[in-house]
Symmetry: D3
Subunit: 307 residues, 6 copies
């Protein structure tokens, strides 16, 4: 069962933490908003009257939430944002955090809409867009373009091993947007029919590199070779402030049985990396809710985000 945005207001920090842990609250955006709501509730639950004690209280809440998904960029960014305060006068500090929670929540809700609009502006009449895996934001931009009357069509990659391309295809068929499915190996061969590539983002590093579903860097390389623009759609809280301090984004490897049953191939090593890194020189622009930017100014976005 998936928790929806409208259910969040009734939950406290502990309930939200559990929801994130057990994946009932999922998706980078929803997790971020849930965390900001949890922190707001946590402020209200505080019953002491000492500023230092309050600070410890807040750190405790933060720790509880972070531990649910320690590598989720949007989660830690949301908390960093709402706790970016001076602990001086108690009431004052409580009020500031509460209002930052509300602001973050609102900003996050409008971010997807803005990215869809800005991204759609970049799509020309009659264009063919290739997309890899299944990105809500990338599809949002394509949908927006379609809704304002642009005659677009989409090429979706299968995206082995989990074949999220099928989800993408179903979504587009439901919207009645023309869509063609290809295997991942056919990207370069098909590139000459493509006008632009749109993908989402798991994480953006401080030097502008994109961490996203395995194969994204290969699609990006093929696009670059053929002078086809690559557009990344990402809310600003996908930008990892950890990478500023050199922490490399860990590239998860998932269970090998996602690819093939290992028992069928005794002795075979199976590698199942889930993400890869696309260098910034293969990215034309990143569409964020703050506007359309070069990947190279990621550092500036991070600095603004954690202000």
């Amino acid at each position: 069962m998936k928790v929806k945005q409208e259910d969040l207001d009734d939950l406290g920090l502990e309930e939200i933490a559990r929801g994130i842990e057990n994946m009932e609250i999922r998706g980078a955006a929803l997790i971020a908003r849930a965390a900001s709501i949890a922190m707001e509730k946590w402020v209200n639950e505080y019953q002491g009257d000492d500023i230092d004690d309050f600070k410890e209280w807040m750190e405790e809440g933060k720790k509880r939430l972070i531990n649910t998904r320690p590598t989720a960029v949007s989660l830690s960014n949301a908390i960093r944002y709402v706790l970016n305060v001076e602990y001086d006068d108690l009431e004052n500090t409580k009020e500031t955090i509460r209002s930052r929670c509300i602001i973050f929540n609102e900003k996050s809700k409008t971010a997807a809409k803005k990215i869809a609009e800005y991204g759609a502006n970049r799509i020309g009449e009659g264009e063919t867009i290739l997309t890899h895996c299944n990105s809500t934001l990338a599809l949002g931009a394509i949908k927006y373009a379609w809704d304002i009357g642009k005659d677009v069509s989409v090429i979706a990659t299968e995206s082995r091993p989990k074949k999220q391309g099928y989800i993408t295809a179903r979504q587009l068929l439901e919207w009645e947007i023309p869509v063609t499915l290809i295997v991942d190996s056919a990207v370069r061969h098909t590139m000459k029919e493509v006008d632009q590539v749109f993908v989402g983002a798991d994480t953006i590093a401080s030097n502008g590199a994109l961490i996203n579903k395995i194969g994204t860097s290969q699609v990006a390389l093929c696009a670059d070779e053929a002078r086809v623009p690559l557009i990344v759609c990402a809310e600003s809280y996908k930008f990892s402030s950890e990478t500023i301090f050199g922490k490399l984004v860990e590239l998860e490897e998932r269970d090998k049985s996602e690819i093939v049953d290992p028992k069928e191939f005794p002795g075979l090593v199976i590698r199942n990396p889930v993400f890869d890194a696309t260098p910034p020189e293969y990215i034309d622009v990143i569409v964020t809710e703050e506007g359309i930017i070069s990947p190279y100014v990621a550092y500036k976005i991070i600095k603004e985000m954690i202000k």
Copy 2:
């Protein structure tokens, strides 16, 4: 049921033609040798005594064979080779064709061995070789290197949609050569661990371009980006003399149900191209039975082959 080399001697032209048609005789090398044997038999079956009549007879045999698989490069090259004679004195001409048939057959049988040896010479101790799809010649070179004591290991791509990478993996496991399986999208991500890429060839065009299993050009691009050499293994009769005259190699599209059952996705367009074209600038060398060459001298190989 697959016809083997040793069965061919008992068959006449018509039987061989049918075997090629119904795919009991398959694989570029076997088809080529079968055609040369068929032609030898066809010469022997001729009962007339007129050189012009004999020429027509041979043209008839040629036509029968070509029609079984009109786009098979190795088939037409084999026949072109054995019929590359002057029709003057009847006995003389018959003898020349017969001996060309025998020579072709022998050359073909030794070609794979030579390619394995020459290719293995290029493999260094302890190297990791990436291969795409399932190429007998590429695996032959790897096996040869292993047999002479080089400690190689292999990374095999899955090769969607037909997953011929599984056949590659099984073959290598049987030989006890260490092998790792990855999905096609993980090639670029994995390239930094790769020393060389070895692939086979469906066809080589007169400008050195390689026609091979879909995804080969993408693997080649990733190798080129990372300064990893790409080695193509191909007998000289894979070089298409048709391309000299501008005929483009047709890139077959196969049934879409190989990818996914279309009924599950009403309205979805599915594209299933089986081959793609790798430009010569991404190919370091082609290993042929004549030696190791730059792809750019393909024209010379073709000219020599049809001498």
Copy 3:
């Protein structure tokens, strides 16, 4: 008849608006300054005493000006700058706008001088500079270098169809700076004699792409191939804040008779695009009045400009 800077002080908003409409006020810099003067006058003409009413009044003036040339980046940037105020106390707000108008005007006047100086610093003794079309700022930098004693020479492209290269040549001849004229097709052939390329800008997009006279991207490509630096000269109000929101810069096509009389070629399609887009990876630096920057920080310049 062209209106000059010194005539502007005598004109009101409506007169200035008409001047822009009928092209008597032209050139990105002059238009921007005229708009700031118009807005200052417009503040002074307001006779009410209500802050909301005043805001409407200002919006009306803004609308009148913007409508004269809706796609002129410098015009909308000038107005955005002067109206970047809080509408609170009436007198206070009027005063703030007035002073922003004066500041903008001054900044604009000094911008060209600064760009000439900073650009000239980049030019070495004895260098050969190639320039395309006719850019006041690019020529300003060359002139500055010449005036401080650097022995430069210039290669000017013809710049078909309007041949603005002739204007460039005449200007340089008047300054007695050695200049060579070539046709647009000879740029790559001539590049080995060139030390640097200097061009102007129509618009800079938020990802650092340059919109400029048709052919600029081709010159940039030839420079990049030969490791020759490309320097763009542009005031900060050439940076388009619209592009932050994904709005693509429209690339105007002008009358085909500029190329050839269509009547001479019945049936011929003639295309006359006036601008093209140069990707940021072909631009070494942009010289602005704020300093010399990488094109990739365009987003930061825009953010600062509209502060």
Copy 4:
């Protein structure tokens, strides 16, 4: 007045030499055929009976012809071909030269047809072909494709300063093939609508470099950047055997008044290079009457040609 193929048979060597000198016989192909006819006549005019004397006679004829246009590659190649004999028995030698003259003449006449056909094979249904300047062979291939029912369209560059693009446009309009004219600076901007580029050749050097109308190398660079194939159409006698020995092809500069009247710009240096050199890495294939080759085997073509 232009001499046509059918007039040549009535002319002797001296008349043909004069025709070449005064440009009545022009175009690389016609000059080559005229030279072979002249040599045949010259053999017939010989009245002596000494083989050494005959050799001197032939050298004299050769010298007369070469001097008419010392840098014309097709002229010297034609003569080199027909005189590639052993001077032993007189009658035998005369016969050999005569027959080489006839063969050369025939080969040349069929070369253009073959190139048109081979080139047309490379053009796909519905493709847009960009061409630069005015090449009979490139247009021949396009026409052939059109005639066999392929729905092609053409983009022609203006080709300053002489605007040969207008001749190209007129020719295509006459054939009713859709054609669009652009200025030379618009090539990169237009490249995304182009499927292939077809150009002719003035000379091909022994390393595969192409000497052709100024701007060709720039078009080639733009095509390469966008992964658009560049196809060169050239008879084998355009391949310069002189370049084998290091002789650089001289790149002619023509009268500056072709660009603009120098009197209008006192002090202006005007440069009017007529040819530029395209490196072989920007050329996909060269279409010759011998077949379609990589530019890198130019050396082999030259060796075969002068056999």
Copy 5:
């Protein structure tokens, strides 16, 4: 004799100025800190009571220090930082400058530690790092990685003519970190064994270009060709604010006898450039104490630094 950090507190401005002049105070970091201490002392020595007079006094101190090494970026940056104040109330201003001096000094001392830590985060277990010349910061990052248990090894270039690679090798041997020495010409040949390149910086220009020891740009080119990341370690005061205004960093040429005794080669020209410029496209990231950034945001770092 080299002055150490702990000696600085006992020195006044004039003594520090002399120490910088005679090279007893050397190294970019130490010079910067010495300058901030000198300015703090200089404030304390002021005995007047007039704010304008005080401003002149400070300018005098600044001039004395700058003149010791007019091209040292870290020196002018340190002074620019501490004097970035409003001269209003005298006591207030003195206090502000004093505290900026202390802050700068502290920031500088911690910068090297932070850079070591952030840089070490980028180094993976078992990696081979190539380094050129002798950079304290680059070695600091390698040492940090080693100390936290990462099994790194280093390839050091000789770095002709002064062979600072020997100093690098000795330092690493002392730390017991495995190190291999190669000549400068062997960099490309060795690159396939390298995981990352770490170098220091003399100066960073406003467009992200790196000025560093001769050969750095060549190492960077070889790394880029092989997709090996290049990491630059640089404190923020290595970023040159002068380059914002177009001032090119002067690339010093040192005495030719550093290469070979000119007397041995009468007539020989010997060139000994000490620095070269690496374009930002060959730099993956710059590690600063502010975090890890793309070279393209150098402009932003400079703007922040001089705030």
Copy 6:
């Protein structure tokens, strides 16, 4: 003591073999010619009358010579050339080998002259040529250009560790050709002043790759980046026929004390590779005595050479 060409005629096979072994006969060209003379003598020494016996005799001589320097390409090529005969009639065979020996010797002697001439043709008036290490053939071409009046100048790299650049510099000074010495690290920095790069060759592989002095591939990369042509000078017997069969050219590592005394750096690993491999895409042309070719036709040269 070095044996000279004129001394060779007095020596028999065994003496020549010893001369090669003890390095008194050295240099690729001299070794090749010595081998052909040795084989001629060896034929003359044969006293039997049986063709099979004679064949064994010749194999024995071949073996003796090859063993002196088993990896010397010119040695094995010379022997392969002279023994490329049918062993049928004894006297006939002896005569054929003898005459092949004489021909080879003559061809070799004229090869250097031809390469100098062809190479010089490629050098333009006033050009600056960069050369690496010390190549007799490359210097020969420069000298030829100088002697026919071209005003060339040379930049010579030091070529660590053996500093053969000093030999190059001395040779050029002796010829009074202007020469500048730089360290190996300064190549990229200096490249903008270079018109062409000329180098020699140790070996050319069948795919056109160049094996030459360590650093050559780095120089080639820098030249390629800046669009500066790289010219390789090599006699056809530098082309390795072994590489046709996949044998990789072994890249020798020499004594580490050539770089630095290992005792000074206990624990330091020192690597001293002497050669590196330059891929053919960085080579513009190879100047051979057969003419100027693309590296990609190396295979053809090898095939012709061993005819």
